[in-house]
Assembly symmetry: C2
Homo-oligomer: 289 residues x 2
């Protein structure tokens, strides 16, 4: 089964498991709406690729870890889009959750997705309980305080912000968790995989800043020009477009260089190069090459 | 060490662990503010009492489970108080988190507290990894979909609501988790403890409805008359004050009757009777007796 199929199946299973017939209908619908149809799924794809490179021996646990990472990503999008933050109308080419279901359901959907992320790994860890604590801690750190997504988002409420730390927490943390969780699900020492994830996260953040300036709504399925509109730190503002493209290239190369020794290092290198091609609009990908 | 000391110590340890020197200051402060100074801590007290009744053999894990339950309770209060829900100005006798820190920080504080709840049990489960999956699933169910706190809260967005189900999810679920988690932390079969928690949760909900009508702000540290103001279902609206007091008495007796066989059943019965005295203002406690 290919990675995309595994990820969609794991996400469908997780979401279906909390949609009993007697649950509140709007929240149940909003959970599904926030997760499907698929976004790029770049984080769970990284998680799977790392587990495979490490010699995966428990595919159900890998799939659960990958789904958990994506559920946390979806939760962060739902809450980031709320009126008190970005007040975004569009996400993945359709109305944001609070536009479609109201603000109350959007707050609850984000909460329920965070909870589901942790349950998903617990449900799959029956055959390898000793891996569960590492997985829970890993995904928790990536989204909690003091260095996860909530911390990153909270810097938007502070007057003095370190751009590198802000981006590491807001984006890098979940990429790092994807890599670390992939290794942990495969039962190998997980921490050496953090650097790869952090570098990929940094590369992705720069690519996202570039797309915010260079793409239109139809290409990325969400409003553009948001960094400028919200006066948010951005690699393009800081380095210019050419500087941002150069930085992206350096970060991707650094990521590939940081892959720890493992049975499937070659395939993983190829995966990362292929994924990095997907990050930019075509005309810019050529300019960056 | 008495229960109150154990609980405050476990909560302090958990909150301190995510307040590194480099975290975003406002969110770090808001996390502490949302958890301290103490509320009644009635849910973690139940968790500890059940673990002790079951012959607790891993106190650190019990303390972590109890703290996890209370962190989820605090998270739900922070999000329930948000402008899009109750828009409450006061909580535990001081400004609600969004009044003190702004709406953005309040959303993030709730998120970070949910994450911390799961991390807290994972950090303590090193010596008993096989208990961790049960604990994660137990606390997850109590706050997630389809029957946890988020589900209960989501019924406020629906036109047709079953009062019993709404109250079970909004309040009973976390009491049930407190009882089940106490047993799971002690390494005994946990599910037989659910009924006790559910009945105590139902009793607590009725007591809360009564206090919303019969107390003033100074007594309970939060706005009163909220059920009527928000047209929320309430045991007092449904059964009148005398009927609600009768119902509370029946539920407390039913809770005591549902205690499973265990080494410390007698002490647990005494704990529950003592806790139920604390739920009502004095004049009503006499009327209910």
């Amino acid at each position: 089964m290919d990675a995309a199929t595994r990820i969609e199946r794991a996400l469908s299973t997780a979401v279906a498991r909390v949609q009993g017939p007697n649950g509140p209908p709007k929240l149940a619908e909003a959970l599904h709406y926030a997760v499907f149809p698929r976004g790029a799924r770049i984080r769970p794809r990284l998680c799977l690729a790392v587990a495979l490179a490490c010699g995966e021996d428990d595919p159900d646990l890998t799939d659960a870890a990958a789904a958990s990472i994506e559920l946390l990503h979806c939760a962060s999008l739902v809450h980031d889009d709320l009126p008190c933050f970005d007040d975004a109308d569009l996400r993945r080419g359709k109305p944001s959750v609070h536009r479609a279901f109201g603000e109350q359901i959007a707050v609850l959907a984000g909460d329920a997705l965070i909870v589901l992320a942790f349950q998903t790994v617990a449900w799959a860890a029956g055959s390898a309980p000793q891996r569960l604590a590492t997985l829970i801690d890993t995904v928790g750190r990536s989204v909690g305080m003091p260095r996860g997504i909530t911390a990153g988002q909270a810097w938007e409420c502070e007057t003095e912000v370190d751009l590198a730390q802000y981006q590491q927490e807001k984006t890098g943390a979940l990429f790092a968790a994807a890599a670390v969780a992939g290794a942990a699900a495969a039962g190998v020492e997980a921490e050496p995989w953090r650097l790869l994830g952090e570098r990929l996260g940094a590369a992705y953040q720069v690519a996202d800043d570039i797309r915010d300036v260079a793409c239109d709504v139809a290409e990325i399925g969400k409003p553009v020009g948001q960094d400028q509109a919200h006066a948010r730190p951005s690699a393009v503002t800081l380095h210019g477009m050419d500087g941002a493209l150069r930085l992206l290239k350096e970060l991707a190369a650094g990521a590939v260089a940081s892959i720890p020794d493992c049975p499937g290092a070659g395939e993983l290198r190829a995966h990362i190069m292929s994924e990095s091609q997907r990050l930019l609009p075509k005309q810019l990908a050529q300019r960056a090459a």
